[in-house]
Amino acid sequence: MKNILVIDDNKDIVDLYKTILESSGHVCITANGGKAGIEQLQSKSFDLTILDLAMPEVSGIDVLEYVKKDPELKSAKIIIVTASSPTESEAARIRKEYPIIDLIKKPINKTKLLQIINSY
């Protein structure tokens, strides 16, 4: 059982992840958008955070910037799951610059999501 935060601007996707995760016995907190995500990250600690990149207003990169600067969030485990297709060089840059543990491209199904959750 893991305590997981899902940050995505698409409410349907957030709900889907929550359904999948909870049906597998995990605890899932959702944040609809980057701003809500940062608030959640500040309020408590999570075993794992699933973060979308392309979000209006506060983007995934903005969230990562925030996490990078906050010493209290140093231990946060963040996995990026994105529907946009970052080029390999962009992905490499994000991997290098921010404290993330993986970068996964959507589409992502139940099997794949649970596989990722269980591997960290």
């Binding site: 349907d12 999948i20 529907a83 297709s85 080029t87 390999e88 060089s89 959507k106 589409p107 199904n109």
Partner: protein, 568 residues
Amino acid sequence: MDYAKIVNLLGIIILIVGAIVVLGWIFHIDVLKSGFSGAITMKFGVAISFVCTGVSFLFITRKRGGNAALAQIGLPASTLIIIMLPIVNSISVFLGGNISIAMLFINEPISSFTSTPRPSEGAFVSFILIAAAFILSLSDFARMQNLLIVFGVIIGVIGGAALIGYAISMPILYYYINSVGTAMSIHTAALFVLSGTSLILLGYDKKHAAYLKTIRVKTKLISLFLLTSVIPNFFLAIITYILIRDFETIRPFGYSFAIFATVTSIMVGFFAFFLSKEIVTPIIGLRNAANKIAEGNLDVKANENTSDEIGQLAKTFNDMVDSMKLSTKLETDRLLQIDKDKEEFAAMVSHELKTPLIPISGYAELFLDGSMGNITPIQKEKLQIMYENSIRLTTLIQDILDARKIELGKLKLDIQSESVRNIAKRCIDIFRPISEQKGITLTNKTDDIIVTCDPDRVLQVFNNVVSNAMKFVPTQHGTISINSRVDDGSVVLSITDNGPGIPKEKQQSLFKRFYQVDKSLTRKSGGTGLGLAISRGIIESHGGKIWVESEENQGSTISFTLPLENSK
């Protein structure tokens, strides 16, 4: 036939004969002057003119090579002398005296000349025409080459008539008319025939025309200066003659006159050289700048040192280049912006189309695996259709984006070292549930060979090929196997199936976009026709190749190569 070589040879003959006669005059050897004893002598001025004519022929046949520079200055100079001599002689006719260049140089009393030192009228005409031909050759004569032939014919006829006159003993033909015409000597006549022939050959020489077209502006200017400089010298000669009217008195001044004429010519030559350089250099600079622009280099400036017409032209030219640069930059920026917009649009389409599909396929999956509670078998069957189609749509979107990337050459590879067996295993893991359901045997017979590749992209190739095979192999006893072998520095990976095979004539088109082997099969098998085209793009990006081997009703094998790890 190389006319230029013949003209060269004729030029040398004319030069040598002329030189021999000149030596005859200087050293008083009568036989050299007349050809044979007792014959009419070639006049001193005529001999000098022939030397110059021979030299001019040699110069004019020099192609644009190492000798071109010499020819460009030498030709106007020799032409100048040819034109000067008959003019001096014709002036003497008008002034009523027996004036000749010979009298200035040959230290003999006038009475000792066997005939008048004045050349024949035929020689006048011929030399004027020869000089005119050379002057025209220095200007843009290439378009008037036929005129060379006309001049050549006239000169040849003048010389030929004289020769015939000698042959049939008819003095009038060699211009001997008592107290009116001066006889043309036999070797003079022969040399005119040769000169005329040379001019005719030049007129027919097409290769030579190329040289005539390339006469430089500088050469033309130098010729102009040199030719105009002749006029003061003539005035000097005429005034001297009018004042003194006695050649016995003038003769001692002959050498100083010659030296004076030479010095003034050299000075004029120098001035001509520098003045023409002054005019031509900025033009050459402009031409070079224009050449660079034609090559696509816009970072050039023409020299604007002077404020004369050429300087103004250079300034206009530079302004023009600046505005070209500006508009080129604007155009480039515009194209870059369009490119950027297209990229952003593609990224947006990718994101916006894929996102709604995630909850659709995601929830369908949850319903199908029972996470959302029990559903009836008929509901399950229809949900399966929804699920499969949403997956298909997702794949299609991804395929279109990939195909576009490949077409634009923007497919980026994340190159790593990976075992082909691992990639094949990942592929088989993906297809195992479906293959088990359909009773198809999937086997991984690959060896643990390490290749340098983008594993995700290579997996995509495996998936495309295997999913194609899955559509065509018979259910229950279909077999698909993945094999590997090393061949000449690369790994050959083959996917073999026992499907219906692909007809030979359709194998060529298999890797083309949107190609479907059989439209009726399409309905049964589905697919976008992009998979194999993308696969080819991916393999070619790795520097490999992909091909098919198949016999109808005997299955097919699709193979591709990947570079071995240490081969790079």
